[in-house]
Structures are given as C-alpha cells and as structure tokens.
Amino acid sequence: MELDAKIPEGPIETLWDRHKFDLKLVNPANKRKYNIIVVGSGLAGGSAAATLGELGYNVQCFCFQDSPRRAHSIAAQGGINAAKNYHGDGDSIYRLFYDTVKGGDFRAREANVYRLAQISVDIIDQCVAQGVPFAREYGGMLDNRSFGGAQVSRTFYARGQTGQQLLLGAYQALERQIAAGQVKMYPRAEMLDLVVVDGHARGIVTRDLVTGEVESHAADAVVLGTGGYGNVYYLSTNAKGCNATAIWRAYKKGALFANPCFTQIHPTCIPVTGSYQSKLTLMSESLRNDGRIWVPLRKGDKRPPNSIPAEERDYFLERKYPSFGNLVPRDVASRNAKAVCDEGRGVGESGLGVYLDFKSALERLGKHVIKERYGNLFDMYERITGEDPYQAPMRIYPAIHYTMGGLWVDYNLMSTIPGLYVIGEANFSDHGANRLGASALMQGLADGYFILPYTISDYLATTKLLKVDSSHEAFRESEAQVACKTKRLLEIKGTRPVDSFHRDLGKLVWEYCGMARTAEGLRHLLEKIPELREQFWRDVTVPGTGSELNQSLEKAGRVGDFLELAELMCLDALERNESCGGHFREEYQTAEGEALRNDAEYSYAAAWQYRGDGQAPAMVKEPLHFDYVHPSQRSYK
C-alpha cells in the first residue's frame, strides 16, 4: 500500500489558498441532500458539526456524554495559540509554523503545520464573535501570555478555563444548528463500528447507552472527532470516559493508524497519592510562566520546602536550560523531572514529585496578580491536596496528557478509507512527536471550523456514491458483530471487575512505554499485554444486562480495545530506533541526556495497517520532507 498525502505543489505560503480554490464545491441547493455523521462533540467534532449544519448539510452528531457541552476539550486550561502578533514581539505565521515543526521534533508534516499557523488567526476572530470572554487589557484589547516552549506572547486565554469557553462557543453554535433542524444530536450514544460499503465509509453502528439498543446510521461521509487514547495508561489527565473505541474500530475496518507511540507527558500534574486513584489532575503549564521548578540539592532531604535555603535547592531547568528556563517544552520538562526523582531527589511522600514554587512571583507581583492569573488553579490544587500553594510550593509530577499519534489522514484530513475524515486529537497530522502548549485547542478548531468543511465538499462533489441506507447488509453484519461482542462480555462472568484490568494495563504501559522506553522493556511488554488480554477475555466480570444503562459494559468494551491498541503502541515504539519528542528510547540519547533523533532512517510517519486478529500489522511509511524548517538538534539551552 502506498500513502498519498495529497499535498499540493508550490510554495508553502500559498498552498492552502490555492488548494481551497481547487477544491470542488457542493451547490447550496444540493447540500441538504447529503448526510454527514460527526462522532464526537468536542472542539473538533462540535465545531465541524456546527459549521457543516450552517452550510446546509444534514448532520447527525454523536457523543457518549449526556450533553455535547461536556466533551473533554472543556478541561483545557491554559490557552490557544494564534500568530496575531498583537504585541509586536516578533511573532508571525512563519514563526508559529517554525516553532510547531521544531517543537514536534521534526516528525510532523510541514504543509499541515503551515496551514494550522495560518488559520490560527481566524480562530480567534471567530471565537471573539461568538462571545468567548477572552481576557482583555484595560483598553479593551485582547490580552496574551507566553506559554511553554514559546518565546513570544501568542496565547489567548479565558482565565484558566480557555478550553471550556471555546467549547461552549462551539457548543452554542451547535445548539443553534440543532434548533434550526440542521443537526440531529444523539447524546449518550457510543459508536461501536464503522460501516464500509464498496470501500467507502457509509455509516456507523452505535449503542444507545440508556436503552442498550444497537442502531445503524447511514451517511455519505463520516467524521471522527473522538479525541486521543491517553486513557490506555489508566491514570491520565483525560476524562474517565475518553476512549479509543471509535478510532480503533475504524482501524480494524481499514483506516491506518499513524505513530501510535507518540504520546505526550505533561510535566505539571498533581502527583499520585494511592492505589484507588482514578485520574490525574493537570495544573496548567501556564503556571510555569511564574512558578519556578526545583528539588533539594541533597538526596533524601525531607525538610519542609520553606525551610530549605536557596543555596540548597536545585532549580534544575533554569540551571540546564538558561535561555528557556522553566519554559522548556513539555517533553524536556517531564524527562528532567523524572531524572531528578530517579536520582532520589523527588519530593512528597512517594518521592515522585518536584516543587513548583511561586514565592518569588508572589514577592515580585503581589498576591492579587497571581490570584488573577491562576486563582482557579490554586483553588483546585488546594481542593485536591488540602495544601495552600500561596503558602508552600505545589508538588507536581508528569502524567500522560495527550496523544500525538492517531488515524493517518492526508492533507484533506481524510483517512485511508474514502469518506472517513478524522479531525482533532484523533488524527496524527500536526504535532509530530511532541505538541506545544496551547496548540491542541488551535488544531481542534482549525480542523472543525476551517479545514474539514472545505475538503469534505470536494469529496462529496467529486465522488459518485451509491444510494445506501441503514437497511444495507453491511449494517446488518456490523450490528450482529456489535451485539455478539456485547453478549460475549456479559457472558464471561469471571471474577475481576473491568477497572482492575485497566489498572494493570496502565501500570505496564506507563512503566515500559511511558516517559522512557527501551527495546528490552518493550519486548517484555509485548509478551505481557497478550497475556493480560487473554485473562481479560476469560476472567472479566460485567454485571447487569445489555439492554439498560450499564457503565461496566461501556468500560469493558473500551478496555478491550485499549488492550489491543497498547500492543500497537509497543510495536511502533520498538520499531522506531531513535528518540524524538515524547518518544524517548533510552538507547538513543546525547551525552547530555537529550533525545537523539535519527533523521537518516526515521524521518517518516509510521502508519500501521490492520491485517486481522492475531496477525502482525503491516507498517507503511509516509516519508517526511523538510523544505523550510531544517531539522536540527532541538536546543533550549
């Protein structure tokens, strides 16, 4: 199989504009004749469904939560990047493009990233018009701040709730289209299969989470905006319901899965406290603008932080990276935190933590300024830990936060299955091996508001699609498969709850395919995961029935898929004999312990093709070309 990314020819600055002109349009009167399914209602799915509805298509939108307003985009705290250069501090579209390609450690597609940087400015305009209450200066202008990994102030924010406000903007636009009859919303519905007819994506099979009913929905195109797979690690900053089922089942229907091993560890999360822990809470990385990260110089120094004098503290990021200091990219900050903890200098009960200290900022700026900038984050920290960060430094530790890998898409955001589009975190395209802070919101909205609506019209206008409705036999087959899987899960009646398998899987993957990986560890994991999967299908217990709200059953299906996806992550990590971004293979590092890329051999996206259960997937390479930003060793010193 050959991958064609369909990147237009020509200078990168004008690619997207020319391409938009070349894309075929659907006549306004004909749009209502097309049905489009959008799965997911976050920033990507929600903005896509709203915009497609507004354009006149018939849209059906699905989410597993009780309302589209709850998608996990809502939890993004820090902000959204845009190359507005409102501060005249040297920002430009080209600089945002450059930063994103470099920050992604040269494993992203240049053309996609350039387009993302271009569109970033339109996103801010759109969101302002929708009434997103961005932070303002006293003159009424939009305020900005700088964010991890960037030397310019290009991040727009709404207190510490930027994701919430952007999502509510998209949600309100979506509700407007629902009221107008352009979008039909299916909350509490989970996609359990993709239906492919004659090689084209023609619909989905869902389970109504309240009644348990398995339903078929036919369409002319299917869009997945279902987010990432960070919950494969069990403990992550993702919401409990976040899952990979939609993209995984699409993978099993023929969509290629690219770079599954590219996962991102966020450096500033509240450390784990016990085995009952159900999730990790992120503290926005904007905190690194004013907080200073340190550990005691001496191993095993158990004194309370405020009684450790300055000369006995190691501000390790400021020491090692004088020009970026505490603002180094996420992968670098995380690895360094792990390194000092591995040395035995970690803080807190578990020793897995570093201090994030606001003392000097509080002295410099005063409590009111800090409160205005981070008040809600400080409150959240206090609620969870019972400690007051105005008095003593926060304790933080890295946690899984985002997955750069996802279904492979071309420049038009279409997967290898014609008619199946993948947007937002669910695809792989824009962040390479590491995502910069405040770029996830940007990508979700760029895909949903400004890219997909153009590219999907070209597909619909140029593809001759047979008339297919949900009575087609392909739907019957999918329904039967879904029903069979549900039945099987309910009939095992083993001894262990779903969560206990999920926790075991999470521990294994975090240990061997988390912040640092080795060939040996990955091989070990490749033996362990199939064993655990086998135990799961033999010994899991799912109480209740399939014809009611059954949260154990929902979880069981998702964990079953994670148990397969984890194996693909390991294969990918083992195959990539280099370190890049979030993928750190201990065998490949510089003398100073930084990630050592191997551009000669690994400058490609690894897209995996499913070939049947029990069979090794095939890897197809999409070579990456860097004509504008020349690969260099990232240096933040």
Partner: protein
Amino acid sequence: MNLTLHIWRQRNASEKGRMVRYEVPEVNPEMSFLEMLDVLNEGLIAKGDEPVAFDHDCREGICGMCGFMINGTAHGPRRGTTVCQLHMRYFKDGDVLYLEPWRARAFPIVKDLVVDRSAFDRIIAAGGFISAPTGSAPDGNSILVPKEAADLSMDAAACIGCGACVAMCPNAAAALFTGAKIMHLGALPQGQPERYSRVTAMVAQASHELFGSCTNIGECEAVCPKEIRLEAIARMNRDFLKAAVSGRD
C-alpha cells in the same frame, strides 16, 4: 474511616426506587468522593451485585457531568466544589451519608443517581448563543471589550451546567443556569444585537421544560460549584422586563 451510605437505587425511569444501605470500611481521607464510590462499586461487582450508576467524566470539576445530593446538599458540604473534587478528608469516621439524585420534574431519573438534563441543552438551543456564522468574523481586536465587561461575562460563563442550582431550589427553577448564559452574552458588545430576543426565548423555553419560577431564595447560589452569583438572575429579570415592556420580541 468507616462510613455508612444510604444510596438511592432505581433501575430505570419507570420502576420504583428505594434507599439502600451500604457500609464502606477503611476509607482513605485522600480519596475523592467518587473514588470512594469506585471502591464501593468494585466491591459490589466482585460480589456479583450491580454497581451504583452515577454520572462523571472529567473528575476535575469542569465538565459538569457529576452531581448528586449528599445529605440534602447538592454536591455535598464544601462550597464551590463539585462532588468529583470533594475529598474524603472533609468527612469523619462514622458519618452517615444519604446520596440522592437531583430531584426536579424537568430532570427525569435515568438510573440510580443519573438524571436526564437535556432540558438545559434545549434552553441553550432556544437562544443561548450569538449568531456568528463560521468565517464571518472581523479581526478580534476590532471589537473592544472593556476589561470589566469581559470579567463580568467570564464570571457567568464559568457555569458548567451541572444542574445543582435546579436540584437545590425548592421551586426547581433553572433561573441561575438561564441567567448565567444571559449575563455571559449580555455583558459583551457582541451579545447586544440578540440580547432581548435571547432572554425572551430562553425564559420561555425554561418554563416550557417545567422548571419552576424563581422566588429569590438563593439556595442555587449557595451550592453553585462555580459560585455564580444571584446577580445573574437579576440581570436576566431586568432584560426580560425590558424586552416585555418595550415590545421588542
């Protein structure tokens, strides 16, 4: 610590529900309330019983999916805190806790502690938006928003749509929820063109959904996990009155 829980169990909307007593031993004070319920549920599953159904997702107090009554208070005893962020250190050994779903005619029960809050979505669909078709917007800085207005707007926009305000209100009114959206959009220059049609449509939808009327009791403000102020209701009432007397919409 050891706790006694009385939890409302109800199979579905049509069957009768009842309180069921559970003992939860060895609760760690560092746990969140929902983690304590996870432990209870794992125990129930291991015994072959059905776990308690409750809604939750982000578990960091922002998605608005979780929420139930703890001893008669929405989201439990701690101010400005959703139940997912409530930690067991605020309880003590031997506590007896009664957990019930949100009670309101407009929020029918789905199962156990899970209710149907889709009425909130329909209130937003009635007018809780600014009509701004994608791509039609001018440059962000061409619309100046005074900082005070942006802050006021953000105070109200923080609403997470959890439904605690309705659950706690003796009238089961959705005034704080509806008022918060009206205040969020009404405080901004972008929200002015639809300001009066919005309030009329949203208030009408809220009463159509069989939410009660507001009588300024203030229980909603007291339990709102985002601490949205009653001011939102006052602003809504003012806009509503203005729309009514001026005959605009």
